[in-house]
């Protein structure tokens, strides 16, 4: 679309303004993370003119910024959240590995093999994506209680893997569909077994797709709230759940909460930029290819 110089200029300005409006809450939240309490509770709200502080990060992560650079001292205060971040990382990583492994196997069969009911099988997988988490969480709570899985890594990893499976299966299927099946067939002629073809030929060719699937699974586990809220109590807790509990009798610890929130966005954002090429395909569960 080539317009005159002024229309292009106008468009550029409008685009920056719109994106700035969307970026503003993130900026504001990050600024709260660097504010003293009285700056947070100022009226009118202080947007730019405030004295930055590292206090919130020190409380939440034990990180302090002194004359000798950054020092890390693990703390034991009420808002010391490093263990919670670790919980989130463990759960997100392990559930991603599990979901991607199971989904890759299944997606290969769904992409390559002809069998009766294949179409309805894909429909079934898709429909499990429609289950409201509350309809799964309520029964799972009782089952987990019986098996002692409440408040454990195992329980959280399983439920997050399940949650991500429909997405992972459909997404991996779409990546496998992109690889011509003639490659498989010619390898079969050469006497290779199915599994060998899968491992030696198809998997390496689908590397980018696997990475994109893994990143999305990681992010969805990282941001998940309802299961984490329902199926954990004290020893395992994820970042979104503890963030919603920074409310004390003397008010909400906004600064600490913002520090945790701002820090938790960064790794997820870096991950998503790494797979930006496949992002839309991932967000639409493999049905739109970029």
């Amino acid at each position: 679309m080539n317009g005159s110089f002024s229309t292009r200029m106008l468009r550029t300005i409008a685009a920056w303004v719109v994106v700035a409006i969307f970026f503003f809450p993130i900026y504001y939240w990050t600024s709260v993370a660097f504010k003293h309490g009285n700056d947070i509770f100022n009226r009118p709200p202080k947007l730019f003119a405030f004295t930055p502080t590292f206090d919130n990060f020190q409380k939440v992560f034990g990180i302090s910024l002194g004359s000798g650079g950054i020092t890390v001292t693990p703390g034991g205060g009420n808002f010391y959240m490093a263990p919670r971040v670790w919980d989130s990382i463990v759960i997100a990583t392990l559930s991603t590995v599990l979901a991607v492994a199971i989904a890759t196997l299944a997606a290969y069969a769904l992409s390559r093999m002809n069998f009766r009911g294949r179409h309805s099988f894909v429909g079934w997988v898709l429909s499990t994506r429609m289950m409201p988490p509350v309809a799964v969480a309520v029964p799972m709570f009782f089952i987990y209680k019986n098996f002692g899985l409440i408040d454990t890594y195992t329980g959280m990893v399983l439920i997050h893997a399940l949650m991500n499976l429909p997405l992972a299966v459909l997404l991996m299927k779409s990546f496998f569909d992109d690889i011509p099946s003639e490659i498989d067939e010619s390898a079969i002629v050469d006497g290779a077994s199915r599994f060998m073809i899968f491992r030696r030929i198809v998997l390496p060719m689908a590397k980018g797709g696997i990475a994109a699937t893994a990143v999305l699974c990681f992010i969805f586990s990282w941001t998940e709230f309802l299961f984490a809220l329902t199926l954990t109590t004290t020893s395992v807790k994820t970042v979104p759940v503890v963030s919603s509990t920074f409310v004390t009798s003397i008010g909400t610890a906004w600064g600490n909460m913002a520090a945790l929130g701002a820090a938790s966005i960064i790794p997820a954002f870096i991950f998503i930029l790494l797979v930006q090429k496949h992002l839309v395909r991932g967000l639409t569960m493999g049905s739109l290819k970029q």
Binding site: M1, R11, T12, A15, F22, P25, I26, Y28, W29, V32, I40, N42, R43, P45, I102, L105, A106, Y108, M113, N114, F121, G123, W124, V125, T128, M130, P132, P133, V134, A135, V136, V138, P139, F142, I143, L158, L162, L165, S181, E185, I188, V189, T223, E224, F225, L226, P240, S243, W254, G261, F269, I272, Q276, L279, L283, T284, M285, S287, L288, Q290
Partner: protein, 295 residues
């Protein structure tokens, strides 16, 4: 000859070992809960005997007569419709705006993806602070231009609470639509546009007659994927309002969750979550049929 043999091998290859882990986990974690929910919906926990007892269709009768259930159904549909309309219209407008190869546009698209990686519960907390009647930046802005009375906090006033939650929802998920629509716009063939230019069509005519019809598949998929999540809304209302004030922001998911975990009405909670599930399945599958979305 060998090719024919190979073909036969491909076709006869058994998919079961490949699908088994998936089927096992889906059976355990979705089919079993479904059956359990159905069973539980005919039972109820009786606190004074500390036992789950059979109550027949009591929960279903209660559901039918429960004004709060019907209210939460209306709220969920309202939330669903308003959010979807705003996200679609804003998403399309911003996608058209950002559909350019000009300097900096790639960067702007990257910035927009940021909202998608923030946990919705944290987004809820963000907007809780920004809509705080005293030090919230959004409240301050609305008060200073006279749109908001300082005696009516956004999230504590029945008439505005849902709007306050929707702002967070729409902020976080409009970029989702933008990214999907952008991908769709970039994949459109240039020929129809060239022809329309020659015929002297206006920008609106081009959008209405060419862009929209060619984007219909993309829009349908975006509506389906987002719509499923909208109908299950829980995180925002849980952290921002807990359903209040009164019952003005009770979504079905929140209502079901609270009945189970706050009021120990296990049977009734299961009944409610079952209803939520059925509504989503029916609407989503109808939509897939009508819009001919394919995977």
């Amino acid at each position: 000859m060998r090719v024919a043999q190979a073909r036969r091998f491909v076709i006869s290859d058994h998919p079961l070992p490949w699908l088994l882990p998936l089927v096992a986990i889906l059976l355990v974690f979705t089919v079993y809960p479904l059956i359990y929910n159905i069973w539980l919906s005919f039972h109820e926990f009786v606190p004074r005997r500390r036992a789950i007892e059979f109550v027949g269709t009591e929960n279903w009768v209660q559901l039918w007569n429960d004004t709060r259930f019907w209210q939460s159904l209306v709220i969920t549909f309202t939330y669903f419709a308003i959010a979807l309309i705003f996200e679609l219209v804003l998403g399309m407008a911003i996608a058209l705006l950002l559909d350019s190869d000009g300097f900096g546009f790639g960067f702007l698209r990257g910035v927009l993806t940021m909202t998608l990686v923030i946990p919705p519960a944290i987004v809820g907390m963000m907007y809780l602070l920004m809509e705080d009647p005293q030090f919230g930046v959004i409240s301050y802005l609305l008060q200073s231009i006279g749109l908001l009375n300082s005696n009516n906090p956004i999230l504590a006033t029945a008439s505005t609470a849902l709007a306050g939650v929707l702002v967070a929802e729409i902020w976080q998920w409009t970029p989702f639509m933008v990214l999907i629509f952008l991908a769709g716009l970039r994949a459109l063939p240039p020929e129809p546009y060239e022809a329309a230019m020659i015929d002297g069509a206006s920008a609106f005519q081009i959008f209405r007659r060419i862009t929209l019809p060619m984007m219909s598949k993309v829009i349908a998929i975006a509506v389906l994927v987002r719509g499923i999540d909208l109908f299950r809304v829980f995180d925002y209302v849980f952290v921002m309002t807990s359903g209040g004030p009164g019952a003005s922001t009770y979504s079905l998911s929140l209502y079901a969750w609270q009945q189970t975990f706050s009021f120990v009405k296990w049977g009734y909670g299961a009944t409610l979550s079952l209803v939520t599930l059925v509504i989503i399945l029916v609407i989503a599958n109808l939509f897939i049929r009508i819009a001919k979305v394919r995977w």
